[in-house]
């Protein structure tokens, strides 16, 4: 990580000064294994997320795992994105679907080299999520078990960066998956496909609407705070799900009531 580099350089400089001073001590050798930018997505972390998906697949037994890129900065063009796993000596292209989702390939060399997952966009201009959708769900719905697993994979993979980038690495280091995904204070944000007016939970005969405070990133983001949220340009699509509330089973259906009807073009696309 970049914050460690100055310390390492100081160590090298101190060792060199000691040698120049005529000391007989052998010069300490420091190997810097990577220069990956701390705001880049870590390939190792994302693979760890994939491993958690395998371990906890029972939450969404029939769903595959994909990752997805979403816009974070205003005016960002989200078409024509390319992605690769980049290590010191290895570069592995990643195929991106039209919805900017992808499957991350496994590569042992990239793992050894602590590679980064890089897009041809500024890293901080996008946000990343796990995408786990059980097949056969009705349109405009999600399944709570899928969301629970998305949170656990996303948190493990270090995908969310809601803090200032300077402290994002620290936050990721201190927040456990359970703190993020098993607590009402966890604040793992989900994004619907379109702007939301309401979200309803349905489990058998039990039906409840999410409160206002679980929409729009809590509904309390000031413009100053919003720039630290990866919901910056998708605020109207955000919601929290009661991941921690075991009284809602994994098969709970999460229904979206969008602000407006889908545009005709979107309808045609969904029908394909």
């Amino acid at each position: 990580m970049r914050p460690l580099l100055p310390a390492l350089l100081l160590l090298v400089a101190a060792a060199a000064a000691n040698a120049a001073g005529g000391g007989q001590q052998p010069v300490a050798k420091v190997n810097v294994s990577t220069t990956r930018d701390p705001v880049d997505k870590s390939y190792r972390k994302m693979i760890q997320g994939m491993e958690r998906f395998e371990r906890e697949h029972a939450l969404a037994p029939s769903a595959p795992l994909r990752f997805q890129l979403l816009p974070r900065m205003p005016g960002l063009k989200m078409d024509g994105i390319s992605l690769r796993v980049a290590g010191d000596t290895v570069s592995v292209p990643v195929t991106i679907a039209p919805d900017n989702s992808f499957v991350l390939p496994r590569n042992e060399q990239a793992l050894r080299e602590d590679a980064a997952v890089l897009a041809n966009r500024k890293t901080t201009s996008m946000t990343w999520r796990a995408l786990i959708r059980s097949p056969g769900l009705a349109p405009d719905t999600r399944r709570l078990g899928d969301l629970r697993l998305e949170c656990r994979v996303g948190a493990e993979a270090g995908l969310v960066s809601n803090n200032s980038q300077l402290f994002a690495w620290l936050s990721n280091a201190l927040m456990s998956v359970d703190q993020v995904c098993n607590s009402p204070e966890g604040n793992y944000l989900f994004f619907a496909d379109r702007p939301l007016f309401g979200v309803r939970l349905r489990a058998g005969a039990r039906v409840e609407d999410l409160p206002f405070k679980m929409l729009y990133a809590g509904g309390e983001q000031t413009p100053e705070m919003l720039r630290f949220c990866d919901c910056q340009v998708l605020l109207d699509r955000t919601y929290y799900a009661p991941l921690w509330d075991k009284s809602w089973p994994d098969d709970t259906i999460v229904e979206f009531d969008y602000m407006t009807d889908a545009a005709p073009a979107a309808d045609a696309q969904e029908a394909r």
Binding site: L166, F167, G219, E220, T222, M259, T260
Partner: protein, 100 residues
């Protein structure tokens, strides 16, 4: 170590500070339902009749406003109003009473 922990906490708080949520203005549910008509009631009407309340303004120009209605036992129902970019109420919805 304690100092380091405090510094770490301060650093994290600097990145993710969350403001105090303002609860929605309290108005009787019947009054809201009778006064707010989608397609006709405007933002100016809401301000004049009920005053400012908790709201979120989106880049699209839409706004979502929250009113709360006392429902007894310390519970409140929610009345959410969607205002379109022209400043006219587009939709409303109510959420059953719950503890705040």
């Amino acid at each position: 170590m304690k100092t380091v922990s405090l510094l770490l906490c301060a650093a994290l708080l600097a990145g993710c500070a969350i403001g105090q949520a303002t609860p929605g203005t309290q108005v009787a549910a019947e009054r809201l339902a009778a006064s707010i008509v989608p397609g006709r009631t405007t933002k100016a009407d809401l301000l004049a009749t009920f005053g400012k309340t908790r709201s979120v303004v989106f880049d699209s120009g839409y706004e979502s406003w929250l009113y709360q209605s006392p429902a007894g036992g310390g519970r409140f129902s929610e009345f959410v109003v969607l205002i379109d970019p022209a400043g006219v109420v587009a939709r409303t919805r109510q959420r059953a009473p719950a503890l705040p």
